[in-house]
């Protein structure tokens, strides 16, 4: 196993963990109101998207580095 494969495997597990947690929190706070909560929801959603990008990069869908 090369270092790159090992790094991607670790990142894959962490991305599922963090992405899952972020999505759960987003769903949980979905009905909250107020500017700060609305902004937090947008930012949490984008963070979950970031985790999805990491997942896709780990399985080779994106990037060739």
């Amino acid at each position: 196993m090369t270092t790159a494969v090992l790094e991607k495997s670790i990142a894959f597990v962490f991305a599922i963990l963090v992405g899952g947690t972020t999505s759960t929190q987003l769903a949980r706070d979905w009905n909250s109101t107020g500017l700060d909560n609305q902004l937090t929801k947008v930012l949490l959603g984008l963070m979950a998207f970031g985790c999805l990008l990491v997942l896709l990069a780990c399985v080779g869908v994106f990037g060739n580095g």
């Binding site: 790159a4 670790i10 991305a15 972020t22 937090t40 949490l44 984008l46 990491v54 780990c58 580095g65």
Partner: protein
């Protein structure tokens, strides 16, 4: 059962949030709007550098470009970047938990999540330093290097400021500056940290995936 307990928890938090004097509530809303405008201006700053990078990238036939010495530049280390990204996104999740713990008046959990956030933030900065040390390009050698170091350096500076900001918030929270109903500083800190995470999503895509 679980949904009703979540709703009850939300209602209790909201009741505490609104149980402040009118002057504080008004200034809190104004400060929040001001802080959102700061984030928007920061967004414009990053956007201008990102568009400059995209312009430079599209002005050469191949990417990575040929360096001044005539050799083909390598791609960035994607595998390491995936781990470093997870560290930063993880810190965003822990920061969210810290804020939620504060709202629920659970100070020990707040302290734990804040420390985790600070440690992960420092971890990301160490990862960035490691990448700078090992990357095979220089600032002055190519447009790719200039763009990479400018954008990731600017982001890294924001993370560094964020880590210091979180340390100050941690100290303040443990020295009676914030209460169960008055905690605007923590809200601003959480928004700033999430913002820094989201900027990294864009940079990660632009430099490592595109």
């Amino acid at each position: 059962m679980a949904i009703s307990s979540i709703n009850a928890s939300h209602e209790a938090i909201e009741a505490r949030y609104n149980a402040v004097d009118g002057l504080y509530a008004e200034t809190r809303d104004m400060r929040l709007l001001g802080f959102v405008l700061v984030l928007v201006s920061d967004c414009v700053l990053f956007s201008s550098f990102i568009f400059a990078y995209l312009y430079l990238r599209n002005s050469v036939p191949n990417w990575p470009p040929i360096a001044q010495g005539g050799h083909q530049l390598p791609r960035f280390d994607l595998a390491f970047a995936t781990i470093n990204s997870c560290v930063l996104f993880g810190s965003g999740a822990t920061m969210h938990f810290a804020m939620e713990s504060w709202k629920k008046l659970d100070k020990p959990a707040f302290n734990l999540w804040m420390i985790a956030t600070i440690v992960l933030g420092i971890g990301f900065l160490c990862g960035q330093a490691y990448e700078y040390h090992n990357v095979q390009i220089t600032w002055a050698g190519s447009t790719m290097g200039a763009s990479f170091f400018t954008l990731t350096g600017m982001h890294g500076f924001h993370v560094l400021v964020g880590v210091i900001y979180l340390m100050v918030l941690y100290w303040q929270a443990n020295n009676g500056v914030y209460t169960g109903s008055k905690y605007f500083g923590l809200t601003a800190g959480t928004l700033y940290w999430h913002f820094v995470d989201v900027i990294w999503v864009a940079l990660f895509y632009l430099f490592y995936l595109m």
